[in-house]
Assembly symmetry: D2
Homo-oligomer: 351 residues x 4
């Protein structure tokens, strides 16, 4: 940690900072320049309190050198992590390293029949994990909020029948225990990326967690949220880039394509992109999905509907089944360029 002093900080202020660094068990190195004194604190960074040091008189700024996350970092785990989704009644799908996966399905589960119909379409198109919302985070209290437990049961049955692990969003700490019995993978939505109690609760389960990036979260904050889950003992975290808020208003959210190489350099966790929520409009979903894979992602999560005009939620961004199938073909080609391979759909009796 580096402490930069104000140009006119008195010697006593410098002494105080040095004393505090030593009290916390680190060594202090002074560099007195012509205009400023800079103090380096050498030791284990976790034991130094950045905030405390910044509060001391005469301190202009504190620059941390070490990353604030540990379990999520490449330094901790040099190789790419491979996360396994599924097992038990459904096949295991691997994501990470050279394993790419496509997670697809409806935005929200709106009925049993529509779910099965879409699930068959996405499986035939090449998806190996089924997505579908049962509790929906909606900006308006007056919008459709999801069918809850009933929809969850349909998801489970449908995943089992088609041989696809299921990925479902959890919104509230009170839902975790019950949902754990049904889902193969929890999804944490962008608006809950810093719902720390929720992160801790899913961290206590042993189901993998697809962690969407918050709409204004830096890559570092995103990895800190991953750290919350990891620190509870759950090592199955998948990062999911889904677009950030910027000034640009031509598209719903701006997919931050650079977060992919950055997060992959800093962390060993697998990276998924969600082009549907970023684009908000089906015309642009394909380009963003291809870009995500080309930038190094380990897969995509996309929304598909056979009749988007019927969807109660996010219809404009849902791909038609045939478009989805074509896109998967292109994604496989791009994956090959970046040395990854999409798993094949498991063929099961019920299919």
């Amino acid at each position: 940690m580096i402490i930069v002093m104000d140009p006119n900080a008195p010697a006593s202020a410098v002494d105080r900072v040095v004393a505090e660094i030593e009290r916390m068990g680190s060594r202090a190195h002074l560099s007195r320049g012509e205009f400023r004194t800079v103090i380096g604190a050498v030791g284990e960074e976790g034991t130094l309190d950045q905030n405390h040091l910044a509060s001391l008189d005469g301190v202009e700024k504190v620059v941390p050198i070490m990353k604030p996350y540990k379990l999520a970092s490449r330094e901790f785990h040099e190789e790419d992590s491979v996360v396994e989704i599924g097992g038990g009644s459904v096949p295991v799908v691997k994501v990470g390293g050279s394993h790419a996966a496509c997670i697809a399905g409806p935005c929200a589960v709106e009925g049993e029949e529509m779910l099965y119909k879409i699930a068959r379409h996405v499986r035939d198109g090449g998806a190996t994990v089924l997505r579908g919302g049962v509790y929906k985070p909606r900006t308006s209290p007056y919008s459709f909020q999801g069918l809850g437990i009933q929809a969850l049961q349909w998801m489970r049955a449908c995943g089992d029948e088609l041989g696809m692990p299921i990925c479902v969003e959890v919104m509230d700490t009170r839902q975790v225990e019950q949902m754990e019995k049904y889902v193969d993978c929890f999804q944490i939505g962008a608006r809950n990326m810093q719902n720390f109690d929720l992160l801790r609760e899913v961290g206590k389960t042993r189901k993998p967690v697809l962690l969407k990036r918050g709409l204004s979260a830096s890559v570092k904050e995103w990895l800190m949220s991953a750290e919350y889950v990891l620190s509870q003992g759950n090592r199955g975290v998948l990062l999911c880039e889904r677009g950030i808020k910027t000034f640009e208003d031509s598209i719903r959210y701006s997919m931050d394509i650079s977060s992919i190489p950055v997060a992959r350099q800093w962390s060993h966790l697998p990276m998924i992109v969600d082009p549907s929520h970023a684009a908000g409009k089906r015309d642009w979903v394909g380009a963003l999905a291809l870009a995500g894979m080309a930038a190094g992602a380990h897969g995509v999560i996309v929304e598909v509907h056979y009749n988007p005009a019927e969807a109660q939620c996010d219809g404009p961004q849902a791909l038609l089944p045939e478009t989805f199938k074509e896109l998967m073909g292109q994604l496989r080609q791009i994956a090959a360029v970046t040395k990854k391979e999409f798993s094949e759909a498991a063929v099961t009796a019920g299919a």
Copy 2:
């Protein structure tokens, strides 16, 4: 609602949109320009599904005319709302209209003695509501997370003794029931502004809610979150601007000063500013507080500490008691310019 068709949408697509508008109980007005057809849907906008219309073939975009919130809007409630905090064991503090208030205290309650000491300082400086965190949302799982229920009990006792209603942050739906017994005002943090389950739970209580704006929430989204609380029957919502994320890195968050006149034009709810979290550094807290009041806010929420270097949380942004007192003097002068008045601290026996 206005539906703009693609330049080359066929007549059948236009007919389909018109039919859907009529099916939803509104009337459709067609304007066929040389290049484009525009359809106006006239009726009660709440009954029209924007998403559905946007999903139809040939639709380029859908422009809503009405605001998506109702109970939070000026149209619904023309006069400024006055929210009352306190009552029972403590005096009532009014906020809204011509009533301004200052909410102050430590960032986190770190001990009984420090709490009482700071509380006395802020009361003497002119604050009438006491703040203090007992559950702290921290970006790192390894940081101090608050003292919980013990700290909550100290807050209640301290507020009672000094005659100040208390305002405390709630982070999880599971905390609402217990906290309701203690607090005079719930605070919803910026990172939970779209934790919709939490909004609903505090909406079911009858304690006022200070709703901080999310770090990347538009004013419209913020008012939609207020609507979540209001729609449960709780009419005591205070909006709190605390800075947004922008590209500017000289300061922690950029206080969006224009949100104050905008939200006040669109909504009747009282508006508070939080200069401490925006600035992140005590040097700049005063300027932001004064600016907020000048822009039309009904008060401020600020962090104060007699020895910031001791604070376990956000010490660098805490004002010293004497600086706080001076600032209150200036705030009173600014309030007068915008026709508001700060309530006087209640004088109680324990003071």
Copy 3:
């Protein structure tokens, strides 16, 4: 154009708006809803003054329906434009439609020998257009500002010798006339995207213009700047995405990958991506280049240096020659997926 009236605008205000619309030669269609009156103005949108209408009493907002640019739009020119760079002493390189191109070279021309050395490397690696700055826009007045006319002459000679058209940034209206004699393609930097006098001056020449997107320009503003050039009669505009400013601080600029499908849907102009300036760090240049091509770009512009530590400008983002060559191999594969092909380098005597 659609004019939304305030909820309590009087009938006289509505009449005034209608009268103004008719005075400007359009027809007005009224839709009186329960809460609001909405007026559609039907006619040629260019003849309506949005600003004027927005100034009238009782007007809440004005929503334009038509795009504000014409020559840059797909409606005006349905097919992809193919821009030709070069001719005369150097081969013609086509960009647009199915033609992809790689523009590469040093950030700044710092000497004759270094220029030739880098130029040979990039040509051997697969670039067909040579880039190199001679006037450098630097944020500090104390930084190296480029070698000017001398460097420009080296660029011309080098391009001629290696058979590569040259692309050079122009910064000031006073440089246009002289530079036109030397360059095959003007580059307009991000900070000059709305230097309207400069846009007009290069618009008067007949050399193509690579127009970098401003750091906070919307896609619409970018196309308006292209319109400035096109409106002077110069039809050779190439759009270049180079990253925008966002809150994310892990990388220098956030490449706005979605601008590629959006601008390509709205406009017929070719699209280039500049991963070097977005990344600011060579580690991430490759991923961004691949993502840009996968999203539909017609090529890349990249910086290359055989010894980046020697570069006076932007060394950290320069690719090494061997990395560049490898990247070109991957770019060719990605281009094939999106149905484009990179031109082969011309083989010339001097090579």
Copy 4:
């Protein structure tokens, strides 16, 4: 300057960095931590090349300690600068320190009569400097572009007659020489804040320069642009905050209120706010003007029109003369709170 090495940088890389620091005339201090080596370079920072150091193998990042601007900094000039506008045929208006000023007038000069009429209104309302655009930067090439030299002559004559110095925007290096003869203060628009050639040209004149902040410029970049002007020998720079681009779409630009205390802490230059361009809508201009003064600005620049619906440019944001006068009354009160005073309008014969 602090150089942080990669966790696995070899000793040879560290040696190379040390050697380079010493070659540039500074001393290197090594801090070898358990995980990382950090090198402090002590000496005159201006002689160290950050870019060069960042390019060296094994360097993770370089953190500058000193500010990159000098003449604009508080360290260089501890007291607030007081800039004088006018002199000769018009009174001198002081801005900076305890001197506040109001600059007002039409957005664009559209005719002689309208100019005189508005100029009289703003002088009577309390403005002491007259603004008016003669070359207008417009996003569309088809919009009104200003009346040029004719309008400039009207401005000069009007200012002389009413005893008000004039402030006029310059857009192109080729305009500087001629305009210098007429204007009392140059204005550099937000889109030209990094038009470095233009900054240098106005820096060579001896007329003060009102430098608007770019729409996505950091405070640091803004001060670097001021440094361009100052480095040419022109010490009369006024900073002008006019709003930045953010995700918020309720208002045209988000006024970055915190830039005022930040820039005032870092620099001695006077600070003006432009609430008109930030708001884009007259309803919100007053609140932003008051907030700017409360945050510590030395004045405002506002647009006024007696009949905004007639304006060819930015009518919706122009204040009516009576509103302007009222606002000036409130601004004087706020100025008193922050220890500043608006100069009185000079009374001249022609008035």
